[in-house]
């Protein structure tokens, strides 16, 4: 496969990175704030969507501040629109910088996707054609983000429902090249890898092995919904509204075999269950993490 690019490897990521603990964490949801403070559940970290906290004040900041004093934090952006065919929104980037400055998270991540066009925010993670022009644009945007935020960005592999006839490389190759050029890390969403592999009839094992696994800084696990496409074939929808599927648990165990223990988020954004159920799901991941060998990073430490 041809990649039209110079061998540019000047990384925009700072050399040293704060790290999430190699444990299982959960999404922080507002209905659970008080219970978390009261019960201090045994989870390794919390993750929030950056855009929910780009408000001036009030209970969201009050509770996030208190929870941040007790737990490591991952800030996960859903609105930067890194893949958009237009300049990054500088104002949004500045607001993110202020948020990161305030909460000093152990990780910041965003998506290989676009979500804005012109002024309009579409509130979904939309798919990209994997070609040289997109690669150059995504890398330039990630350079801009890492330079401004002064931290390594973890880029999440997407869940997609369509592919593009004008793509000139496969997704794993594209992501590998982005990581090589920008020095960003990979947020490996195992559910997304499974969903996309089913939806596009990819060999998920080959897909995973083609990714830059050395750069994985965090793993996401989530649930999907199941539908059928126009030919009656399985079409999985990444809805973050269900427990993790058995097939994704199996794939997660295989990923841990490949890369060792890695900070893992149980991601839930819809049909939010009681806190205890999220914590139980995280404990299942924690059991697998405890059985996994340490990562190279830990082994060196």
């Amino acid at each position: 496969m041809m990649i039209a690019s110079p061998a540019q490897v000047a990384s925009s990521a700072p050399a040293t990175q704060p790290q999430l603990p190699c444990r299982a964490g959960i999404s922080l949801k507002s209905p659970h704030y008080q219970q978390i403070l009261d019960a201090s559940p045994a989870v390794g970290f919390f993750e929030v969507h950056a855009e929910n906290y780009l408000v001036a004040g009030g209970p969201f900041h009050h509770y996030l501040g208190l929870i941040r004093e007790r737990y490591p934090l991952s800030i996960h952006g859903v609105g930067l629109s890194i893949g958009a065919n237009q300049p990054l929104d500088r104002e949004h980037l500045e607001r993110l910088a202020t948020l990161l400055e305030r909460y000093q998270p152990q990780a910041f991540s965003e998506h290989l996707a676009w979500s804005s066009h012109g002024e309009v925010f579409l509130n979904d993670l939309l798919p990209l054609a994997y070609d040289a022009a997109t690669l150059a644009r995504v890398c330039a945007h990630i350079d801009q983000v890492q330079s401004r935020l002064q931290c390594q960005l973890l880029l999440e592999n997407p869940a997609t429902y369509v592919e593009f006839s004008n793509s000139s490389m496969d997704e794993a190759t594209f992501i590998g090249e982005v990581v090589r050029r920008t020095g960003c890390g990979l947020l490996l969403d195992v559910n997304n890898a499974y969903v996309s592999s089913v939806n596009h009839h990819w060999d998920v094992q080959a897909y995973l092995r083609a990714l830059p696994l050395h750069a994985v800084g965090e793993i996401h696990l989530a649930g999907f919904a199941e539908d059928r496409d126009a030919a009656g074939d399985r079409l999985l929808i990444d809805n973050h509204g269900a427990p993790v599927d058995a097939a994704v648990w199996r794939l997660y165990a295989e990923v841990l075999q490949l890369i060792g223990a890695t900070p893992t988020l149980l991601e839930r954004d819809n049909a939010i269950p009681p806190l205890d159920l999220l914590v139980q799901e995280a404990q299942r991941a924690q059991t697998l993490l405890d059985a996994a060998r340490p990562t190279r990073r830990q082994a060196w430490a």
Binding site: A56, L122, E163
Partner: protein
């Protein structure tokens, strides 16, 4: 038209063809898969509105609310990436939405819910230091010239409808059947600690608070309120604002807050 523009336009317009260049591994019609994106965009934005306007949804029912919100989303998709800010012109849209014409109070209920969302996320501001108030009260002859600053969360709504009662009925505070929607009401929305409060106030109170917000001194704000409303009681208004922590600063001169 670049491919993302084509994609974005088709997401919001169900009449448009699915964008060119989409492929599927099995040769199936990509339109069925593109429909997943269409549905994600529309339903997630309707969900965001449903979260911000719960009483509105209860008043019209979920099916009507979602149908109305879908028209609004396609007409006015967010121009912000912060969904808490989405829907600022939803009340104005509702006012012109013919199928909701039989419920003329809906737009003002939406305005009240918008004030509640704004109050919830507004900048934090510590209540007035009691020492500053004590200093001001020690000089009663100067009280009329006192400037009071109110918290950023505070909002007012003067409505031709019973917005406060309609809202309260949906919190279980009173029976909906007892509410006469055509009774004019004024609402005061503020944040007391972490809780957003909605209070029905008299027109004189609303006039008084609005005057303070505009930076008028206490004396002139109270005079204006008395002229408008015989029943205006300065003590009651001030006590409520103080108890709720809604007054954040006081000064005789805007440049030099007390103490």
């Amino acid at each position: 038209m670049n491919s993302q523009q084509e994609f974005a336009v088709a997401l919001l317009d169900p009449e448009r063809d699915c964008p060119a260049q989409l492929t599927t591994w099995n040769g199936s019609d990509p339109a069925a898969r593109f429909a997943v994106y269409r549905n994600n965009v529309l339903s997630s934005l309707i969900d965001a509105l449903a979260a911000s306007f719960p009483v509105l949804q209860q008043l019209v029912g979920e099916a009507f609310f979602r149908a109305m919100a879908a028209v609004y989303v396609r007409h006015s998709p967010p121009r912000t990436r912060i969904l808490a800010d989405y829907g600022a012109d939803f009340p104005a849209f509702i006012e012109g939405f013919a199928p909701a014409g039989s419920l003329p109070y809906l737009a003002d209920v939406a305005r009240l819910e918008l004030l509640r969302i704004r109050a919830y996320h507004a900048a934090d501001a510590a209540p007035l230091n009691p020492d500053a108030l004590a200093m001001a009260l020690a000089a009663p002859e100067r009280l009329g010239a006192l400037l009071l600053r109110l918290q950023p969360a505070l909002g007012l709504l003067e409505s031709a409808f019973a917005v406060v009662s309609l809202w309260a009925a949906h919190q279980g505070a009173l029976a909906l059947a007892e509410v006469d929607p055509d009774q004019a009401q004024c609402a005061l929305v503020l944040r007391n600690g972490l809780e957003v409060e909605v209070l029905g106030i008299h027109p004189g109170d609303a006039h008084f608070i609005q005057a303070l917000q505009q930076g008028l001194p206490l004396g002139r704000a109270a005079e204006g309120a008395c002229a408008l409303d015989d029943g205006f009681d300065l003590g009651t208004s001030l006590t409520y604002l103080l108890r709720a922590g809604a007054i954040t600063d006081c000064a005789y001169d805007k440049q030099r807050p007390l103490p």
